[in-house]
């Protein structure tokens, strides 16, 4: 049996962050929100560029999509999640996360389900434009549909993950 060492570490954060001075949590959040506002326009432009690049390289009209690396598709989908904080209530982040799951599982199983990819691209475009104006049930039905198409065409990411974990 391995030897286990237990100990406490006092970090510099714990020592310095609560020293006299500083700012209140309320003020910190206001300052952060204000600073983030300056990035809103460029971030949304980058988000739109990511969706456009996904469609151009992996969409139904991309002639060379079979030769495009899935790693790039995963990176582009992830970058949409990064910037979705500027589109609260749109479920764009959830759809991008579904897309990441599809791409990740497809990569693991070496499957290319282009119809499932096309559905995800359309969902991203729809939620980008109209997600925030939709009702919760409308957005949820789109996300449910994405989950279903992934399970039907590639498999269940959760089940696969559990199988991997069980296999050690």
């Amino acid at each position: 049996m391995s030897k286990v060492r237990k100990f406490k570490v006092k970090s510099r954060l714990a020592t310095l962050a609560f020293q006299p001075g500083g700012i209140s949590a309320n003020q910190a959040l206001k300052q952060a929100d204000s600073a983030l506002d300056t990035l809103r326009g460029p971030a949304l432009a980058a988000l739109d560029a990511a969706i456009a690049e996904i469609e151009a390289r992996y969409g139904p009209h991309a002639a060379g999509r079979a030769g495009e690396p899935f790693e790039d598709l995963y990176r582009l989908s992830s970058s949409i999640i990064d910037m979705a904080l500027f589109l609260p209530g749109s479920s764009l982040d959830d759809a991008a996360r579904c897309f990441c799951s599809l791409v990740d599982l497809s990569h693991e199983l070496d499957i290319r389900a282009w119809d499932a990819i096309d559905v995800h691209i359309e969902a991203l475009k729809l939620l980008r434009i109209a997600g925030a104006a939709m009702s919760g049930p409308q957005r949820q039905s789109i996300l449910d549909g994405l989950g279903q198409v992934t399970r039907k065409r590639v498999g269940d990411p959760g089940e696969y993950s559990e199988r991997l974990a069980a296999a050690g």
Binding site: R12, L13, A25, S78, I81
Partner: protein, 196 residues
């Protein structure tokens, strides 16, 4: 001071002397995080796009807080934190580290729990969540555990011991009961909802 799981609007924090290290492959996300942390009053923020760049920084100087993405081009954030806990210079080995993830790859799910990070935060981030976690880490009272298979904070926020009415079979069940008493004396802990 408020409980571990709550941050009051009036609670104060001073990050002017804290050295932050941000790691993310997406330059835009680094901008977002820099603006958030800077808005909290941090003055020293180092940005890296790869785990390799971060390793170089950590070999040269001591930092106080790491926020890293889970998927860098050269290495996963989970592998990076495990390296930090095992092989970084001693002054950096146990610094607070948070992983921020948009999606956890299937091959990395188990690694997320075992890498030794303080917390894992889901993207898209909000300033409120980041600030809460900084407060929590600053108030952190969990023990570090170092063994052959794991190095990081105790993953149990609350040790409840064996099931009610049963005697524990392991020697450490007795230790855990004593540890609980110790924790209660230092600070009553309200378990946060997001944890490893």
């Amino acid at each position: 001071m408020a409980g571990y799981g709550s941050v009051l609007a009036s609670d104060k924090i001073n990050l002017e002397k804290i050295e932050f290290l941000l790691i993310d492959p997406n330059p835009f996300f680094l901008d977002i995080m820099s603006q958030v942390i800077g808005g909290f009053g941090a003055r020293s923020i180092t940005r890296c796009h790869t785990a390799g760049q971060a390793r170089t920084v950590l070999a040269e100087r001591v930092v106080d807080f790491i926020l890293t993405d889970s998927n860098m081009a050269d290495e996963s954030g989970y592998d990076f934190i495990e390296w930090l806990r095992r092989h970084a210079i001693e002054a950096n080995r146990f610094i607070p580290a948070i992983i921020i993830t948009g999606h956890t790859r299937i091959s990395q799910v188990a690694r997320a729990r075992d890498c030794g990070a303080h917390f894992i935060i889901a993207k898209p981030i909000t300033p409120k969540v980041i600030l809460e976690r900084i407060f929590w880490v600053g108030r952190e009272n969990r023990m570090f555990i170092e063994s052959d298979t794991y190095c990081g904070l105790d993953r149990r926020f609350k040790t409840e011991g064996p099931p009610a009415g049963m005697r524990g079979r392991r020697a450490e069940d007795l230790d855990a009961a004593a540890e609980d008493e110790d924790d209660d004396l230092i600070s009553p802990i309200q378990a946060p909802k997001v944890a490893l």
